[in-house]
Protein backbone atom coordinates (compact mmCIF):
# COMPACT_ATOMS: atom_id res chain seq x y z
CA UNK A 1 0.00 0.00 0.00
CA UNK A 2 2.79 2.37 1.02
CA UNK A 3 4.77 1.37 -2.04
CA UNK A 4 1.75 2.10 -4.20
CA UNK A 5 1.51 5.55 -2.59
CA UNK A 6 5.19 6.17 -3.33
CA UNK A 7 4.60 5.13 -6.92
CA UNK A 8 1.75 7.61 -7.13
CA UNK A 9 3.94 10.31 -5.57
CA UNK A 10 6.51 10.01 -8.34
CA UNK A 11 3.90 10.23 -11.05
CA UNK A 12 2.50 13.45 -9.60
CA UNK A 13 5.80 15.30 -9.88
CA UNK A 14 6.27 16.61 -13.37
CA UNK A 15 9.27 18.02 -15.17
CA UNK A 16 7.55 21.31 -16.02
CA UNK A 17 9.30 24.14 -17.84
CA UNK A 18 10.75 25.57 -14.59
CA UNK A 19 12.11 22.19 -13.45
CA UNK A 20 13.56 21.55 -16.90
CA UNK A 21 15.24 24.99 -16.97
CA UNK A 22 16.81 24.41 -13.54
CA UNK A 23 17.95 20.90 -14.47
CA UNK A 24 19.36 22.13 -17.79
CA UNK A 25 21.35 24.90 -16.07
CA UNK A 26 22.45 22.44 -13.40
CA UNK A 27 23.91 20.18 -16.10
CA UNK A 28 25.67 23.13 -17.76
CA UNK A 29 27.35 24.26 -14.54
CA UNK A 30 28.14 20.68 -13.55
CA UNK A 31 29.88 20.23 -16.92
CA UNK A 32 31.95 23.36 -16.33
CA UNK A 33 32.85 22.06 -12.84
CA UNK A 34 33.98 18.70 -14.23
CA UNK A 35 35.97 20.18 -17.14
CA UNK A 36 37.69 22.75 -14.90
CA UNK A 37 38.52 19.94 -12.45
CA UNK A 38 40.09 17.84 -15.24
CA UNK A 39 42.16 20.84 -16.41
CA UNK A 40 43.10 21.50 -12.77
CA UNK A 41 44.39 17.92 -12.37
CA UNK A 42 46.53 18.27 -15.51
CA UNK A 43 47.93 21.57 -14.19
CA UNK A 44 48.59 20.04 -10.74
CA UNK A 45 50.49 17.18 -12.34
CA UNK A 46 52.51 19.62 -14.43
CA UNK A 47 53.25 21.72 -11.32
CA UNK A 48 54.31 18.61 -9.39
CA UNK A 49 56.64 17.43 -12.17
CA UNK A 50 57.98 20.67 -13.64
CA UNK A 51 57.11 23.28 -11.02
CA UNK A 52 60.14 24.83 -9.36
CA UNK A 53 58.50 27.44 -7.15
CA UNK A 54 57.75 25.32 -4.04
CA UNK A 55 61.02 23.40 -4.25
CA UNK A 56 63.10 26.56 -4.61
CA UNK A 57 61.09 28.22 -1.80
CA UNK A 58 61.89 25.26 0.47
CA UNK A 59 65.55 25.17 -0.52
CA UNK A 60 65.95 28.93 -0.08
CA UNK A 61 64.63 28.45 3.47
CA UNK A 62 67.56 26.16 4.17
CA UNK A 63 65.92 22.78 3.49
CA UNK A 64 67.75 20.43 1.13
CA UNK A 65 65.15 17.73 0.60
CA UNK A 66 63.93 18.97 -2.78
CA UNK A 67 63.92 15.52 -4.38
CA UNK A 68 61.83 14.01 -1.56
CA UNK A 69 59.46 16.96 -1.70
CA UNK A 70 59.01 16.51 -5.45
CA UNK A 71 58.47 12.71 -5.22
CA UNK A 72 55.99 13.13 -2.39
CA UNK A 73 54.22 15.84 -4.30
CA UNK A 74 53.94 13.69 -7.45
CA UNK A 75 52.55 10.72 -5.46
CA UNK A 76 50.03 12.99 -3.71
CA UNK A 77 48.91 14.49 -7.01
CA UNK A 78 48.55 11.03 -8.61
CA UNK A 79 46.29 9.88 -5.76
CA UNK A 80 44.26 13.08 -6.02
CA UNK A 81 43.96 12.70 -9.80
CA UNK A 82 42.76 9.08 -9.51
CA UNK A 83 40.09 9.81 -6.90
CA UNK A 84 39.10 13.18 -8.36
CA UNK A 85 39.11 11.78 -11.90
CA UNK A 86 36.63 9.04 -10.99
CA UNK A 87 34.49 11.53 -9.05
CA UNK A 88 34.38 14.09 -11.85
CA UNK A 89 33.83 11.43 -14.51
CA UNK A 90 30.43 10.72 -12.91
CA UNK A 91 29.68 14.44 -12.67
CA UNK A 92 30.52 14.76 -16.36
CA UNK A 93 28.32 11.76 -17.18
CA UNK A 94 25.45 13.45 -15.32
CA UNK A 95 25.94 16.68 -17.25
CA UNK A 96 26.10 15.00 -20.68
CA UNK A 97 23.41 12.30 -20.26
CA UNK A 98 20.88 14.45 -18.39
CA UNK A 99 21.28 17.30 -20.90
CA UNK A 100 20.75 14.83 -23.77
CA UNK A 101 17.73 13.35 -22.00
CA UNK A 102 16.23 16.80 -21.43
CA UNK A 103 16.78 17.83 -25.05
CA UNK A 104 15.26 14.70 -26.55
CA UNK A 105 12.71 14.16 -23.75
CA UNK A 106 14.24 10.73 -23.25
CA UNK A 107 13.39 9.53 -19.74
CA UNK A 108 15.86 6.63 -19.87
CA UNK A 109 18.74 8.96 -20.80
CA UNK A 110 17.69 11.46 -18.13
CA UNK A 111 17.63 8.68 -15.53
CA UNK A 112 21.11 7.56 -16.64
CA UNK A 113 22.28 11.13 -16.08
CA UNK A 114 20.65 11.33 -12.66
CA UNK A 115 22.33 7.99 -11.87
CA UNK A 116 25.67 9.69 -12.54
CA UNK A 117 24.76 12.45 -10.08
CA UNK A 118 23.74 9.83 -7.50
CA UNK A 119 27.10 8.04 -7.86
CA UNK A 120 28.91 11.38 -7.62
CA UNK A 121 27.27 12.24 -4.30
CA UNK A 122 27.73 8.65 -3.09
CA UNK A 123 31.51 8.87 -3.70
CA UNK A 124 31.65 12.31 -2.05
CA UNK A 125 29.76 10.82 0.93
CA UNK A 126 32.14 7.86 1.23
CA UNK A 127 35.17 10.18 0.97
CA UNK A 128 33.61 12.34 3.68
CA UNK A 129 33.26 9.28 5.95
CA UNK A 130 36.94 8.39 5.34
CA UNK A 131 38.06 11.97 6.08
CA UNK A 132 35.90 11.99 9.24
CA UNK A 133 37.64 8.77 10.32
CA UNK A 134 41.05 10.37 9.86
CA UNK A 135 39.96 13.50 11.77
CA UNK A 136 38.64 11.32 14.63
CA UNK A 137 41.95 9.40 14.71
CA UNK A 138 43.90 12.68 14.72
CA UNK A 139 41.81 14.02 17.61
CA UNK A 140 42.32 10.78 19.60
CA UNK A 141 46.06 10.90 18.85
CA UNK A 142 46.35 14.54 19.98
CA UNK A 143 44.36 13.83 23.17
CA UNK A 144 46.47 10.75 23.98
CA UNK A 145 49.74 12.55 23.35
CA UNK A 146 48.54 15.49 25.48
CA UNK A 147 47.64 13.00 28.23
CA UNK A 148 51.08 11.33 28.09
CA UNK A 149 52.96 14.62 28.02
CA UNK A 150 51.11 15.89 31.12
CA UNK A 151 52.33 12.92 33.21
Amino acid sequence: MEEQNQLDNFFNISLDSEARTHLKQMTQWARICAIVAFIGYAVSLAVAIFGTRQISDAESSGFSFGIYLRTGSIIGVLITITVGGILNYFLYRFSVDAAKGLESMDTVKLNEGLGGLRTYFKIVGILTIIILGFVALAIIFVMLSAGFSSR
Partner: protein, 142 residues
Protein backbone atom coordinates in the same frame (compact mmCIF):
# COMPACT_ATOMS: atom_id res chain seq x y z
CA UNK B 1 2.33 18.82 -34.09
CA UNK B 2 3.88 21.66 -32.13
CA UNK B 3 0.90 21.62 -29.80
CA UNK B 4 1.43 17.89 -29.24
CA UNK B 5 5.06 18.48 -28.33
CA UNK B 6 4.02 21.30 -25.99
CA UNK B 7 1.38 19.05 -24.46
CA UNK B 8 3.84 16.15 -23.93
CA UNK B 9 6.40 18.56 -22.49
CA UNK B 10 3.81 19.71 -19.97
CA UNK B 11 2.98 16.13 -19.04
CA UNK B 12 6.52 14.81 -18.80
CA UNK B 13 6.57 13.26 -15.36
CA UNK B 14 9.25 11.80 -13.12
CA UNK B 15 8.94 8.01 -13.47
CA UNK B 16 9.48 5.39 -10.75
CA UNK B 17 13.18 4.86 -11.54
CA UNK B 18 13.89 8.58 -11.82
CA UNK B 19 12.12 9.24 -8.53
CA UNK B 20 14.08 6.52 -6.75
CA UNK B 21 17.39 7.75 -8.17
CA UNK B 22 16.59 11.33 -7.13
CA UNK B 23 15.63 10.19 -3.63
CA UNK B 24 18.90 8.31 -3.21
CA UNK B 25 20.84 11.28 -4.63
CA UNK B 26 19.23 13.65 -2.14
CA UNK B 27 19.91 11.20 0.73
CA UNK B 28 23.67 11.25 0.00
CA UNK B 29 23.68 14.99 -0.70
CA UNK B 30 21.99 15.57 2.68
CA UNK B 31 24.57 13.40 4.44
CA UNK B 32 27.42 15.32 2.77
CA UNK B 33 25.86 18.67 3.69
CA UNK B 34 25.31 17.67 7.35
CA UNK B 35 28.92 16.48 7.68
CA UNK B 36 30.04 19.70 5.99
CA UNK B 37 28.04 21.69 8.57
CA UNK B 38 29.98 19.83 11.30
CA UNK B 39 33.26 20.61 9.50
CA UNK B 40 32.18 24.23 9.20
CA UNK B 41 31.44 24.32 12.95
CA UNK B 42 34.95 22.99 13.69
CA UNK B 43 36.46 25.64 11.35
CA UNK B 44 34.50 28.39 13.12
CA UNK B 45 35.65 27.13 16.57
CA UNK B 46 39.28 27.05 15.38
CA UNK B 47 38.88 30.55 13.94
CA UNK B 48 37.36 31.87 17.21
CA UNK B 49 40.16 30.25 19.25
CA UNK B 50 42.63 31.85 16.87
CA UNK B 51 41.00 35.27 17.39
CA UNK B 52 40.80 34.82 21.18
CA UNK B 53 44.36 33.56 21.57
CA UNK B 54 45.34 36.21 18.98
CA UNK B 55 48.77 37.50 19.79
CA UNK B 56 50.20 34.29 21.25
CA UNK B 57 49.36 32.13 18.21
CA UNK B 58 50.13 34.88 15.70
CA UNK B 59 53.42 35.59 17.44
CA UNK B 60 54.43 31.94 17.09
CA UNK B 61 53.73 31.90 13.36
CA UNK B 62 55.32 35.30 12.68
CA UNK B 63 58.52 34.02 14.33
CA UNK B 64 58.47 31.14 11.81
CA UNK B 65 57.37 33.27 8.83
CA UNK B 66 58.15 36.97 9.51
CA UNK B 67 56.42 38.03 6.27
CA UNK B 68 53.06 37.07 7.82
CA UNK B 69 53.09 40.07 10.19
CA UNK B 70 52.09 42.49 7.44
CA UNK B 71 49.16 40.33 6.36
CA UNK B 72 47.34 39.78 9.65
CA UNK B 73 44.21 41.81 8.78
CA UNK B 74 44.11 40.42 5.25
CA UNK B 75 44.45 36.88 6.62
CA UNK B 76 41.49 37.37 9.00
CA UNK B 77 39.41 38.89 6.17
CA UNK B 78 40.29 35.96 3.88
CA UNK B 79 39.25 33.48 6.60
CA UNK B 80 35.90 35.28 7.00
CA UNK B 81 35.28 35.28 3.23
CA UNK B 82 36.19 31.59 3.04
CA UNK B 83 33.84 30.73 5.92
CA UNK B 84 31.02 32.81 4.38
CA UNK B 85 31.32 31.23 0.92
CA UNK B 86 31.70 27.73 2.36
CA UNK B 87 28.57 28.24 4.50
CA UNK B 88 26.62 29.44 1.47
CA UNK B 89 27.67 26.41 -0.61
CA UNK B 90 26.73 23.97 2.16
CA UNK B 91 23.35 25.67 2.75
CA UNK B 92 22.60 25.39 -0.98
CA UNK B 93 23.49 21.69 -0.99
CA UNK B 94 21.30 21.12 2.08
CA UNK B 95 18.41 22.99 0.47
CA UNK B 96 18.79 20.98 -2.74
CA UNK B 97 18.72 17.73 -0.77
CA UNK B 98 15.83 18.52 1.58
CA UNK B 99 13.53 20.48 -0.74
CA UNK B 100 13.82 18.05 -3.66
CA UNK B 101 13.18 15.10 -1.33
CA UNK B 102 10.26 16.85 0.37
CA UNK B 103 8.85 17.83 -3.03
CA UNK B 104 8.81 14.19 -4.14
CA UNK B 105 7.46 12.90 -0.83
CA UNK B 106 4.65 15.44 -0.55
CA UNK B 107 3.97 15.67 -4.30
CA UNK B 108 4.65 19.39 -4.11
CA UNK B 109 5.83 20.66 -7.48
CA UNK B 110 6.84 24.05 -6.03
CA UNK B 111 9.15 22.49 -3.40
CA UNK B 112 10.61 20.16 -6.04
CA UNK B 113 11.42 23.14 -8.28
CA UNK B 114 12.90 25.11 -5.37
CA UNK B 115 15.17 22.15 -4.62
CA UNK B 116 16.36 21.98 -8.23
CA UNK B 117 16.97 25.75 -8.19
CA UNK B 118 19.17 25.36 -5.08
CA UNK B 119 21.01 22.52 -6.86
CA UNK B 120 21.60 24.73 -9.88
CA UNK B 121 23.00 27.56 -7.70
CA UNK B 122 25.15 25.03 -5.82
CA UNK B 123 26.80 23.88 -9.06
CA UNK B 124 27.11 27.49 -10.30
CA UNK B 125 28.98 28.49 -7.15
CA UNK B 126 31.08 25.30 -7.27
CA UNK B 127 32.05 26.08 -10.88
CA UNK B 128 33.11 29.64 -9.95
CA UNK B 129 35.19 28.30 -7.02
CA UNK B 130 36.71 25.63 -9.29
CA UNK B 131 37.74 28.32 -11.81
CA UNK B 132 39.32 30.42 -9.03
CA UNK B 133 41.15 27.29 -7.81
CA UNK B 134 42.39 26.61 -11.34
CA UNK B 135 43.74 30.16 -11.62
CA UNK B 136 45.70 29.66 -8.38
CA UNK B 137 47.08 26.34 -9.73
CA UNK B 138 48.16 28.07 -12.95
CA UNK B 139 49.96 30.69 -10.82
CA UNK B 140 52.09 27.91 -9.31
CA UNK B 141 53.12 26.66 -12.74
CA UNK B 142 55.24 29.74 -13.47
Amino acid sequence: MEQNTEQSLLEWRVDYDGGNILKETTRWARFVSIVSFIGLGICIIVFLVFLAAGDAIWGYYTRLFPALEAFRAAFILLCLIFLGVFTWVVVLLYRFATLTRKGIDTQDQNLFNQGLRAGKTYFLLSAILAIIGLLFSLRNLF
